[in-house]
């Protein structure tokens, strides 16, 4: 909006004011002038003015002029009123974003911790979700079925995870004793076969990520997935932290590791579940 020159030049119309923006009526100054001259006239009936002044007097006497200002009566220039409003608006936005941020952080935290318990970090020994299982290493092997803490039968996802973890822990004797390892070993037919078994298995599973996002999380190959921090890479944007972490996770501990598993920290991913499971093949 630019400076508007008053075409009408009518004394009763607005002053030309340099700082003022052109009104939206810009472009029709002649029409405006015509309308103004045609419609805006001083009141020719003096009695109306007298009535109005009388009403003013009466109201004044009655103390009506001491009444408070309602919202509709406040017509101060917007700058004054706006400050309060904008402050409120700003605060509400800040609070809202903090709340959202807090939720997100909490989500990460909760999933991270569950991951953490299941699979701790580097030597991610695939183990049951119970932390002690992991550390214990050798002992729990006996308690195979239950130690995993999962009732799930080993699935392709587990294998996937196991293989990945295997890479991580290869050479670290204790890790190999964990239950899940035992399963892997059994499936592979011995330690020396694990590599080949894994190669075959993960290769077949590779296409899976394309099948479904759900599956993708569990099978993220990118960096061994063992890294919980990187877990998110496995499953972009899936908001499901548990899922992304698939990493090294222990197939046993599966719920958090693999996508689509119901264990996803309670996060409902119904559409993922079937995909994830099926996607492996």
């Amino acid at each position: 909006m630019g400076e508007r020159t008053s075409g009408g030049g009518d004394a009763h119309r607005r002053h030309a004011h340099p700082a003022r923006c052109a009104p939206d009526t810009d472009g029709h100054p002649q029409v405006e002038a015509l309308l103004t001259r045609a419609l805006r006239h001083p009141d020719v009936a003096p009695e109306r003015e007298r009535q109005a002044v009388a009403a003013f007097r009466a109201a004044r006497e009655a103390g009506a002029h001491r009444a408070r200002t309602r919202r509709r009566d406040d017509w101060r220039p917007r700058a004054q009123r706006h400050t309060v409003r904008s402050l409120r608006a700003t605060l509400s936005v800040v609070l809202a974003s903090l709340a959202l941020g807090g939720v997100a952080v909490a989500a990460i935290g909760s999933s991270g911790s569950s991951q953490g318990s299941a699979d701790d970090g580097a030597p991610r020994t695939p183990s049951a979700s119970a932390p002690d299982d992991r550390r214990a290493g050798p002992a729990p092997t006996v308690t195979s079925g239950t130690s995993a803490g999962q009732d799930r039968p080993p699935s392709a996802q587990d294998t996937e995870a196991q293989c990945r973890a295997y890479d991580q822990v290869a050479g670290r004797g204790k890790a190999l004793d964990a239950t899940a390892w035992q399963r892997l070993l059994a499936a592979a037919g011995g330690e020396e076969n694990v590599t080949a078994y894994c190669a075959a298995h993960t290769a077949s599973a590779t296409p899976a990520p394309e099948n479904s996002r759900g599956g993708g999380g569990g099978q993220d190959k990118s960096g061994e997935g063992a890294d919980p921090a990187a877990g998110t890479t496995g499953d972009a944007g899936n908001g499901n932290a548990g899922n992304t972490e698939g990493g090294g996770d222990t197939g046993a501990a599966g719920d958090t590791a693999t996508v689509g598993s119901t264990g996803n920290n309670g996060r409902p991913e119904p559409e993922k579940t079937p995909d994830a499971k099926g996607g492996e093949q």
Partner: protein, 205 residues
Amino acid sequence: MGQGGEPRRAQAYDGELGAAVARAQDGDESAFAVVYRIVQPGLLGYLRGIVGDDAEDVASDAWLEIARDLGRFKGDGAGFRGWTATIARHRALDHLRRLRVRPRASALEQDVLDLPGPHDTHDQVVESLSTERALDLVRGLPPDQAEAVLLRVVVGLDGPAAARVLGKRPGAVRTAAHRGLKRLARQLGVEGVTDDGPRTLGESK
């Protein structure tokens, strides 16, 4: 637009009006008379556009309320115009409701409105416009356009103030005012007419 950044549209006498309002709020009767004289013309013009002949009566109702609630008002001269326009509008709507709103210009009248009036010619810019014809034209506009034009032009409110009076978004009011003025310009043969030929009867609005 309007994020507190649009400067207010100041009218002549806005400063004087603001000062008079302040004095009247302190009890100065003659100041109130000044207020009346400054505000009434615009108010009447607006009301004539929306209620026609009963404008004076509706204006009197409005002034009763304005006089009574004067102490509540907070703002400057331009704000006072907006405040009084809002009061006037409410009274007008009450009035129309009581009368079960008269129908707008009939079809026959529409044809009449399209004829060039005695003051219009094809080739000249319209130099003057009678009150009668101005009212006819404005009342022939769609209601939202009529009100937007009246508030912006006759009362002299800026965009945000007009929007507040109407209870609409500033953008909608801006559009309505623009369209209304464009239509009026066409009807008056003023700028905006693209065809050079003689105005046709019954030209579509």
